[in-house]
């Protein structure tokens, strides 16, 4: 299992960790940000604002439970609206974490060590936001547990033919595995925090969470094995979750949904949006906490490249949808595409192509990739674009299907928006709380990136 970390980059390549750091400065910096540093003002403001949106969500959900889903803009024929759009969007965002943690780990992409903790936390919170929507969108949310196969005297089971039941398994498995992965990865750092904490309550909290980690060789051995196993367990989930979510649509017979391209195209889109969200959050946090030393421009460059690559797959998906609409010869498929482009929601399709297809092409330029502001803006554009993609798939397919007599328009209401921005608020709020109380960069893993450390398995002595 031992393998080498080669410092082979040329001189013109930005380093993965700024020069001048050693084990001590890394630990000091990252744990100090949590334990010693006063909360930055910008952070307090962000927390306050995001908490306001948390309150918006609480309000919107309370009213939703009181009145019913009729407060939203959904109707017949558009039975799914923002809730499902948001679900798919959040799940997509939640893909970056596992991809970075698991797949890149298995692929020996060690640059990931600087961002994996942050991305995993983001995944967790994004999946939590995503998991909210399938429950909220139910007509009778208090019966959501009926979607799970629990033993009951009536011997009634969920309908295993329904993709929504697969969703339950896919999403809950993903949430669990993501959580375990994140938490297991945190344990050595929690021990560091415990040992460096000065206040008693901090010692207790971190101590409990550290689960007795002493940094012994045996601990490290067990840790590395379990982490690798979890990575192996999580890897198929990266592909499976969004494939299953895409089945929600692909299994339906509605033109615009019923397409075999959906699983790969959704997975690529998920990674695309996940990386976009990591960039969107990482850039300001990096600035706020002065983490430029650890999350270097080189990291951003890598992430931009992944975004560009997956973005091209997504674009391929759009083109293949166009092609199949034409090539199928099906009147309904052809009309669906025509309506998508020229119909009343044509603006959303045009914006989608602009956001996901055209603007990210700027990432071919290294100058753009290394320009933090440009990258930040493009990542936001991609986030918007990926949200629009789900809007286009859900709404434009449903609003004009087979019988023109039932065609209708979907107009989101204030409550649709409140739930959406509320979920954004929850996400940002949780993210910032996490940044405040946990080491947002994996202390022990980033040490691998120190250029003079030739080997990676001799870190045990530095755990504290």
């Amino acid at each position: 299992m031992a393998y080498k970390y080669h410092v082979t980059e040329g001189e013109n390549v930005a380093p993965l960790i700024a020069p001048g750091h050693d084990y001590a400065t890394i630990t000091d910096k990252i744990s100090g940000d949590v334990l010693d540093r006063k909360t930055p003002r910008g952070m307090m403001i962000t927390l306050a604002v995001s908490f306001l949106f948390v309150l918006v969500l609480i309000g919107a959900v309370s009213y939703l439970f009181y009145k019913g889903v009729g407060i939203w803009g959904i109707n017949i024929p558009v039975g799914w609206g923002f809730a499902i759009v948001n679900l798919v969007w959040w799940i997509g965002i939640g893909h970056a974490g596992t991809l970075i943690s698991a797949i890149l780990l298995l692929l020996h992409q060690h640059w990931r060590n600087a961002i994996n903790r942050f991305a995993e936390a983001m995944t967790l919170f994004a999946v939590a936001c995503a998991g909210l929507f399938p429950i909220l969108h139910l007509g009778r949310p208090w019966l959501a547990y009926w979607l799970t196969p629990y033993p009951n005297t009536m011997e009634v089971w969920p309908n295993f033919r329904s993709p929504l039941v697969w969703d339950v398994f896919a999403i809950s498995t993903y949430l669990l595995v993501s959580f375990m992965f994140w938490f297991v990865g945190l344990i050595p750092d929690l021990a560091s925090m415990r040992d460096r904490a000065r206040k008693r309550w901090q010692k207790i909290c971190y101590g409990v969470l550290a689960m007795g980690w002493r940094g012994s060789a045996r601990h490290w051995h067990r840790y590395e094995t379990s982490y690798l196993l979890l990575a192996g367990l999580a890897t198929p989930l990266v592909v499976s979750v969004h494939s299953v979510v895409s089945f929600d649509f692909a299994v339906g017979i509605i033109p615009g949904w019923h397409a075999t391209i959906f699983p790969p195209y959704f997975v690529a889109g998920a990674i695309y949006s996940g990386f976009a969200m990591v960039i969107t959050l990482m850039i300001p946090v990096r600035k706020l906490y002065h983490l430029e030393d650890f999350v270097t421009d080189r990291h951003l460059d890598f992430m931009a490249k992944v975004m560009l690559g997956t973005g091209l797959i997504v674009l391929y998906g759009y083109l293949s949808e166009l092609f199949f609409a034409y090539y199928s010869g099906s009147e309904y498929e052809g009309f669906m595409m025509h309506n998508r482009i020229t119909g009343p929601y044509g603006w959303s399709y045009a914006l989608l192509i602009l956001c996901n297809g055209l603007i990210p092409q700027a990432l071919w330029s290294k100058r753009v990739r290394l320009n933090t502001l440009a990258l930040f803006l493009i990542s936001i554009v991609v986030n918007v674009g990926m949200w629009l993609e789900r809007f286009v798939i859900v709404v434009t397919s449903l609003h004009r299907d087979f019988l023109p007599s039932s065609w209708d328009m979907y107009t989101p209401t204030i409550w649709d928006w409140a739930t959406y921005v509320g979920s954004l608020g929850v996400f940002v709020w949780l993210m910032f709380i996490f940044v405040r109380v946990m080491p947002m960069i994996s202390i022990f893993e980033i040490k691998h990136l120190l250029p003079w450390k030739g080997r990676i398995y001799d870190t045990s002595a530095d755990a504290n």
């Binding site: 009145k67 019913g68 889903v69 009729g70 407060i71 803009g73 959904i74 109707n75 017949i76 024929p77 558009v78 039975g79 799914w80 969108h137 139910l138 007509g139 009778r140 949310p141 019966l143 959501a144 009926w146 979607l147 009634v156 089971w157 969920p158 309908n159 033919r161 329904s162 993709p163 929504l164 039941v165 339950v168 929600d248 299994v251 339906g252 017979i253 509605i254 009147e331 009309f335 449903l398 004009r400 299907d401 087979f402 019988l403 023109p404 007599s405 039932s406 065609w407 209708d408 328009m409």
Partner: protein
């Protein structure tokens, strides 16, 4: 125990949930200013109709109201009020435990529950009973059968023994049950708009009558709508004998006046035409919507449809020509439809008369062109000439087997001319016969009202009874009825609602609903039905016979005695062989009094009855300019008034079912509009929902426009019955009152102008897209095309065969239910939609929710246009759940709430549904309906009495859809099992099927090759909707065959 804690009281006084109270506020009133009951009532009354059904609790739930409640019921209001202190919690827990064991210690509500000592005859708890009665509309009866569950009438269907029904029904008769349970119905006697008592009213009436006695009734006037009730007619006759100088006026805003006057012009006497559409090969309608309005349209639909049936590969159809001023149900099924303004119908009628050489018609023959070809100088355009030529050609071939019919909005002269045409064609006694008018003394009702208003204004009327009409709302604007009414010292309104007229009267006596009172009525052919009540009056109300009995000095007479006595007297007079008792019982049982149909009279045209070119002298012609044909946008236009197809002249305004029922063709709900043609809309740059200003004779109204393909170009159509005030929570705030534009002499159409105004108003339509986009949805062919290729409908789409599937087909061994809908018979009249709504407890959702696309109808009538936008073909297609054998909704439901049963029904398990709406998304027909909010009425106990107990009332968050009336299948199965037999063919009749006047819907067991539905599905015209999706729908359609004249515009 502290009396504050009697939990059971909470159930009686419906505290708003979640509400909290200050414990101290219980017995002591708080210092805050208390709103009066009046204010609260005003606030409630101020709410507009479409909000009512879903938010009564909401609007009541404000601070003042709760305050009020707290003061009114201090004991009850102060339960559960404080934050849970430990002491309080223990108190309450103790109270609950004490109650659980010692419920007898608590005072129960003072109600006596007495079991049946003797079980009423035939009453089996849980089994509905059916009673025959009659529904009277505009004075004419339709026989009905009323289903009663444990004393509560719940459903109205047609009476097969009644000539005007033959077992079918229409939207109005079925929806009338909603009025019975309408909480807005007037419930108390009112004096000068304050609450009073019947005793005070009777005392007041007695005084006024005593005064009239001395004057021989010279100040007594009675104003009624058209009525054909023998009892009422007899009572009023008696009254006029008692008070010789009293007078009886009749008024109906959309009545039969023109038709009756036309008959008098033609024959010298008032006569009622009775048409035999089942014998007519050619029917020409001049602005008559005889399939959806008039006094026998249910019967006429049946008769007409009988000539549109196609069996096998031969099409032997009648041919329908319709020239109409508004796209109607009848126009929609026409083989040749011609949009013309109402005034131009006269030219077509004149043209028909000329070409058919009707005696007495002056023919301005200038000699160019042979007879039988339209002449230029008729002033007809090429479309009209073409239509006329084809109609004349066909009428000439169908002498003695054709019908020409004019609409009620057409002037009397046109009716007279049409009688002459029918006479010339030899249709009298063959397809058109005449009976004496069933209603009491027909009169030109508008003039009758004008006379009355004159007398009122002159102070000659001291005592006025207004029954069954609402002139303050709908009298001609120039009569100024309401101010005249204010001059009458004692005016009495007898009405179901405390309506505009009732509020202007000194007294208002609430009317009993016809399902709670005795009466009688006559059908279009004179057949008498006894109206029998199904339930004791819910409120302290009186029927008209009971009120008239008070006038006749027989106070306190019961409706039953009055009606029975009337018929007893008649029976004694007629000296029938059977005893009266047998006749009475049989009549009640059958719903018709045998042998009361009028015998046809021989109608003889008066010489030159139709003299003169038509349309020159009619009253209705006043105000119509001659330059109409050459109108430029913005200048004169014809304004046409029609009763709304659903709420009529406003009498159904407070009926949520009818307000929300999409109007035929326009698919508009909850509103009226200025209907204009696409050509006019383009010329004037008016778009849908733009507010336009329509002006006639100096008055104008602002109303949203709706562009209607097939509307005549030079006119605007306005529907009556909207813009009501104080008519109930449903009615108020719907649409625009157009009566200010409507003056004597221009009651049906008049000249005016239209211009674009500022602003828009959203119109809630249930169908926004009108074209089929080239998809084979509604399949139609002409008779010629059909005979060349009888299987054309099947060729229009692809149906995968079972062999194309990898999976074995499911076999259904027992019953296999299926439905067939004959598009050739369907007229789009909506009777099925209301029947379904009534049978299946389908809620009303309100205008906002229809705008949101959330209407709940389980069956809908899709309407598509094809062809020229100025005169399109109109296609009506009823769509309900198809009960697909491979139902796309089923595999996607995560909880298995929608499944197939052993008989092939796609069933919804409501209590398993969690509301993901995935099934609806995946339904290609979009027939599933979702309870986005709490639509079903849970609060109002009166409304809940109407629910069909055999059908679950759905809560919010649950999907629902057509069940093929599974409760009726179950009932039949239970009956069959008890008798150890199979369910017989025809034993299960779905609600839509039973209502359909055209008998377009067939339902039954597909495993029985002899069943009607199996035979229908074996027809060559049979096709399924979207079968290429491999859904295998159990409901299929029979393609429509039209029968145009082969000589006209290339159709063959």
């Amino acid at each position: 125990m502290n009396h504050d804690h009697e939990p059971e009281h909470r159930h009686h006084h419906g505290d708003a949930p979640g509400e909290s109270h200050d414990p101290a506020a219980g017995p002591t009133p708080p210092a805050a200013p208390k709103p009066t009951l009046e204010e609260i009532r005003d606030r409630l009354a101020g709410r507009t109709g479409e909000h009512y059904w879903r938010s009564l609790d909401e609007l009541a739930d404000n601070e003042e109201f709760r305050e009020r409640l707290r003061n009114e019921f201090p004991r009850d209001a102060s339960v559960w009020e404080d934050a849970v202190s430990r002491r309080r919690f223990l108190q309450l827990m103790g109270a609950s435990i004490a109650l659980a064991g010692l419920s007898s210690c608590v005072k129960q509500p003072d109600e006596k529950i007495v079991p049946y000592v003797k079980q009423p005859e035939m009453l089996v708890p849980g089994k509905p009973l059916t009673f025959a009665s009659a529904f009277e509309l505009n004075g004419f009866a339709t026989g009905i059968l009323v289903t009663s569950h444990m004393g509560r009438p719940t459903k109205i269907q047609g009476n097969p023994d009644h000539p005007a029904s033959l077992g079918s029904s229409d939207i109005h008769s079925q929806a009338s049950i909603l009025h019975l349970y309408d909480p807005d119905r007037s419930q108390v006697v009112r004096h000068k708009n304050g609450i009073s008592t019947p005793d005070k009213f009777i005392a007041g009436l007695q005084g006024a009558l005593d005064a009239q006695k001395a004057l021989s009734g010279s100040g007594l006037r009675i104003l009624t709508g058209t009525t054909a009730s023998p009892t009422v007619t007899g009572q009023i006759a008696d009254l006029l004998k008692l008070y010789p100088k009293a007078r009886w006026h009749r008024y109906d805003t959309t009545g039969l006046a023109n038709e009756r006057e036309g008959a008098r012009t033609a024959f010298g006497v008032y006569l009622q035409p009775v048409y035999r559409f089942d014998r007519a090969d050619v029917v020409v309608s001049l602005d008559s919507d005889f399939l959806a309005e008039g006094n026998a349209h249910v019967r006429y639909s049946r008769d007409f449809a009988s000539r549109r049936r196609v069996t096998g590969e031969r099409a032997d159809l009648n041919r329908l020509f319709v020239a109409e001023s508004f796209p109607t149900v009848t126009g929609g099924v026409a083989d040749h439809r011609l949009p013309v303004t109402a005034s131009r119908v006269a030219r077509l009628a004149g043209g028909l008369a000329r070409e058919l050489e009707v005696a007495g018609t002056s023919i301005p023959d200038t000699g160019n062109g042979p007879r039988g070809t339209p002449r230029r100088e008729t002033g007809l355009n090429s479309d009209e000439q073409e239509w006329l030529a084809a109609a004349v050609e066909d009428l000439k071939k169908a002498r003695g087997s054709s019908v020409v019919i004019a609409g009620p909005g057409q002037p009397a002269e046109i009716h007279a001319l049409v009688h002459a045409i029918n006479s010339e064609l030899g249709n009298f006694d063959a397809t058109v016969s005449f009976v004496p008018p069933p209603e009491a003394t027909p009169a030109a009702t508008g003039e009758s009202l004008a006379d009355l208003v004159g007398e009122m204004n002159r102070g000659e009327v001291d005592l006025l009874l207004i029954a069954g009409c609402n002139p303050s709302y709908d009298a001609p604007a120039d009569l100024d009825f309401a101010p005249a009414l204010a001059r009458v010292p004692m005016s009495i309104s007898h009405a179901l609602y405390n309506d505009e007229t009732a509020r202007g009267c000194t007294w208002h006596v609430p009317q009993s609903h016809y399902l709670e009172s005795w009466g009688d009525a006559r059908a279009y052919d004179g057949t008498v039905s006894i109206v029998q009540p199904l339930i004791a009056p819910l409120y302290n109300t009186m029927s008209l016979p009971e009120l008239l009995a008070e006038f006749l000095g027989r106070p306190g007479s019961k409706g039953y005695d009055i009606v029975r006595e009337h018929w007893k007297k008649r029976s004694d007079r007629d000296r029938k062989r059977e005893g009266f008792e047998e006749i009475w019982r049989k009549s009640l049982n059958d719903g018709v009094v045998a042998g009361t149909a009028s015998t046809a009279v021989r109608a003889r045209l008066r010489a030159r009855s139709a003299a003169g070119p038509p349309g020159k002298s009619g009253r209705e012609r006043k105000g119509t300019g001659t330059g109409l044909d050459f109108r430029v946008p913005g200048s004169a236009i014809e304004v046409i008034f029609r009763a709304d197809p659903n709420v009529l002249d406003g009498r159904f305004s407070n009926n949520g079912w009818l307000q929300e029922l999409p109007r035929p063709v326009s698919k508009l709900t909850w509103d009226n509009a200025a209907f204009i043609s696409p050509a006019l809309a383009i010329a004037m740059r008016i778009e849908d929902e733009d507010i336009v200003e329509v002006r006639t004779a100096g008055k104008s109204v602002r109303i949203p426009a709706l562009v209607m393909p097939g509307h005549p170009t030079d006119s605007v159509t306005l529907h009556l019955g909207f813009g009501r005030t104080g008519a109930g929570k449903v009615a108020d705030g719907t649409g625009v009152d157009v009566h200010p534009l409507r003056i004597s002499g221009g009651m049906h159409f008049t000249g005016g102008s239209i211009r674009k105004g500022k602003g828009t108003r959203k119109l809630a339509r249930t169908q926004d897209h009108n074209l089929m986009e080239g998809r084979p949805i509604f399949r139609t062919a002409t008779a010629g095309e059909f005979e060349r290729d009888p299987h054309f409908a099947k060729h229009a789409g692809h149906t995968p065969t079972p062999s194309e599937s990898l999976y074995p087909q499911k076999e259904y061994d027992g019953y296999k239910w299926g439905m067939s809908i004959d598009l050739n018979a369907c007229t789009g009249c909506n009777a099925c939609v209301i029947a379904c709504q009534s049978e299946n407890n389908i809620p009303v959702v309100g205008r906002e929710e229809v705008l949101n696309g959330r209407e709940m109808h389980w069956i809908r009538i899709d309407r598509y246009y094809s062809g020229d936008m100025n005169n399109p073909e109109i296609h009506n297609q009823p769509v309900a759940c198809m009960h697909c054998e491979n139902a796309p909704c089923e595999p996607v439901c995560p909880v298995g709430a929608t499944n197939h049963d052993s008989e092939g029904l796609n069933v919804m398990v409501y209590n398993r549904c969690v509301g993901t709406r995935y099934c609806s998304n995946n339904c290609p027909y979009k027939v599933r309906r979702f309870n986005f909010l709490q639509y079903a009425e849970k609060e109002d106990e009166t409304v809940q009495m109407m629910y069909n107990p055999d059908v679950t009332v759905r809560n919010r968050g649950v999907m629902e859809k057509c069940t093929y009336c599974v409760q009726r299948i179950s009932a039949a199965r239970i009956d069959a099992k008890k008798e150890h037999r199979e369910i017989r063919e025809g034993e299960v009749v779905t609600a839509c099927q039973s209502a359909c006047p055209a008998q377009a819907i067939t339902f039954g067991n597909l495993n029985d090759p002899e069943s009607a539905v199996s035979k229908a599905k074996a027809e060559p015209r049979d096709y399924g909707l979207l079968t290429e999706l491999n859904t295998h729908p159990r409901t299929s359609y029979l393609a429509r065959i039209s029968n145009p004249n082969p000589g006209i515009d290339g159709k063959a």
